[in-house]
């Protein structure tokens, strides 16, 4: 529940953003994000809400970290499971624009 997942903002419309998470797109709300968000920015997403715009110099490191996590595809790895669950929810949720 606590792990956020970073994604790239594709489009912004009011308080809603379309965000790409490793090829999966979902709608993320911008109500509580800490800084103005534009297409091309990266945000940290937590339960469907962006909670932080990831500063430019930190994007690469942040993504590398999650890539490592996702590659550790041990049969049952709770942390990777949490991240995958976040991504899976993106596929199922909100009308599933990438179903």
């Amino acid at each position: 529940m606590c792990l956020g997942v970073p994604g790239r903002v594709v489009a912004v419309e009011g308080l809603l953003a379309t965000v790409d998470f490793w090829g999966v797109r979902r709608t993320v709300r911008l109500d509580v994000v800490d800084a103005p968000v534009l297409p091309g920015d990266y945000v940290l997403n937590h339960v469907g809400f962006a909670i932080r715009r990831i500063p430019e110099p930190e994007i690469e490191e942040t993504l590398a970290l999650y890539e490592t996590l996702l590659r550790s595809m041990e049969a049952e790895d709770p942390m990777a499971d949490d991240v995958r669950a976040e991504l899976a929810a993106a596929r199922e949720g909100e009308g599933g624009d990438e179903r």
């Binding site: 529940m1 792990l3 790239r8 090829g23 709300r29 339960v47 709770p78 942390m79 909100e94």
Partner: protein, 383 residues
């Protein structure tokens, strides 16, 4: 990041540090700094389920020097949701209301029953990924819909945002949100623990900022280091903590500047505190925590399920816990007073398939994590 989909699964080398050289260097730093304390180990506590995941999956505990103990504190939001709070959600579901919640909550036991039990008997319990989906579901129907809202401040911010977004009148919130800083006060003063430093959770501090721990440090004279959840982040955070302990410098340090600033996410804080106020509440197994719960402010009382369904919740059904549940030591595990291996049920009557306590249900629960990794797994970095 390319948009080419998930990276393919790696082979057996998957569970390696990204930078084993740095990991070994950090372990050497820890060893040197704690050598004088081998007879009386430095005792540090983390307050984050993700920290425990990192520690267990990489076998860090077995690699830590003799002079250092790292214990798991109340860092799993699912686990600390109190049984009577689950009972309230179960009661509302059994009364026929649609109850929506996060997936991790489904199997968490109440006094005797979980939401999954209620659902198996026909109650309408649904899992959502986001509270925003629960609001959408309420908009799409006329009937009453209750969102059972659990999680720490990071998750409470999302609940606050939807309540500020003018949800439909048939939507209500049963808040079991918890606020981490106050429980650290309780744990720091608990007899039987002698914690010399705290590793605070990175993502919660993304919202509150590291400054939220400054009054705590001033009161208790123990250092707090905010750390990320990757093994190297955890090791780096522990190394900073040990150094602050050794030098006798109680202060707050931010070892996770990638996500955390001193002041935190002000916009999120404004929303959080305009909707919620801290109130005393029980954390499962621990105790009553002054200001440890997040309660809806009077301005939002019309969305408070406890008020709306007061008559049903005044005296919720609270069947006696099963004999097995009475032996569960989850509370002591979350307070850092016991290890899962101290529990007679652990791995025998209580497993991820048949959990007795909340700590075995959640992927962030200490018992579940230890069960997954065998408690003290071998380390992949020391060779």
């Amino acid at each position: 990041m390319s948009a080419s989909g998930l990276a393919p699964p790696a082979d057996g080398e998957a569970l390696r540090f990204r930078d084993p050289v740095r990991a070994r260097a950090l372990l050497r730093v820890l060893e040197r700094a704690t050598r004088p304390r081998e007879a009386d180990p430095v005792c540090l506590m983390h307050v984050c389920g993700s920290h425990e995941q990192a520690i267990a999956r990489f076998g860090l505990r077995a690699a830590l020097p003799k002079g250092l103990r790292v214990i798991a504190g109340p860092g799993c939001p699912v686990c600390v949701t109190d049984a009577p709070e689950v009972d309230e959600a179960v009661t509302l579901a059994e009364r026929g209301l649609r109850v929506l919640t996060y997936g991790d909550m489904l199997r968490v036991p109440g006094s005797a029953r979980s939401l999954a039990d209620a659902r198996a008997e026909g109650a309408r319990v649904e899992v959502v990924y986001s509270v925003a989906q629960a609001v959408d579901a309420a908009r799409a129907c006329d009937e009453e819909l209750v969102f059972f809202a659990t999680g720490f401040e990071t998750t409470a911010v999302a609940t606050a945002a939807v309540l500020l977004g003018d949800p439909p009148p048939n939507f209500s919130v049963l808040s079991a949100h918890k606020y981490i800083p106050p429980v650290m006060e309780i744990v720091a003063e608990m007899p039987g623990t002698r914690i010399e430093g705290f590793l605070a959770a990175g993502h919660a501090a993304t919202i509150t900022g590291s400054a939220v721990f400054e009054p705590f440090v001033a009161r208790h004279g123990v250092p707090v280091v905010v750390a990320g959840f990757e093994p190297l982040d955890v090791l780096a955070g522990l190394a900073r903590l040990v150094e602050l302990v050794r030098r006798g410098e109680p202060r707050v340090e931010n070892a996770f500047p990638r996500c955390v600033t001193r002041e935190g996410n002000r916009r999120a804080q404004e929303r959080l505190w305009s909707v919620f106020e801290p109130a005393g509440g029980c954390w499962r197994g621990i105790t009553r925590v002054p200001n440890g719960n997040l309660r809806l402010r009077p301005a939002f009382v019309r969305f408070d399920a406890r008020r709306r369904f007061e008559a049903w919740l005044r005296d919720p059904a609270r069947p006696a816990p099963s004999p097995l549940a009475q032996q569960c030591v989850c509370g002591d595990v979350m307070a850092g007073l016991a290890s899962p291996s101290d529990c007679a049920l652990f791995g025998r009557s209580c497993t991820p398939a048949t959990p007795v306590g909340a700590c075995m249900v959640s992927s962030e629960g200490t018992c579940r994590i230890w069960h997954q990794y065998g408690g003290h797994p071998d380390l992949g970095v020391s060779a």
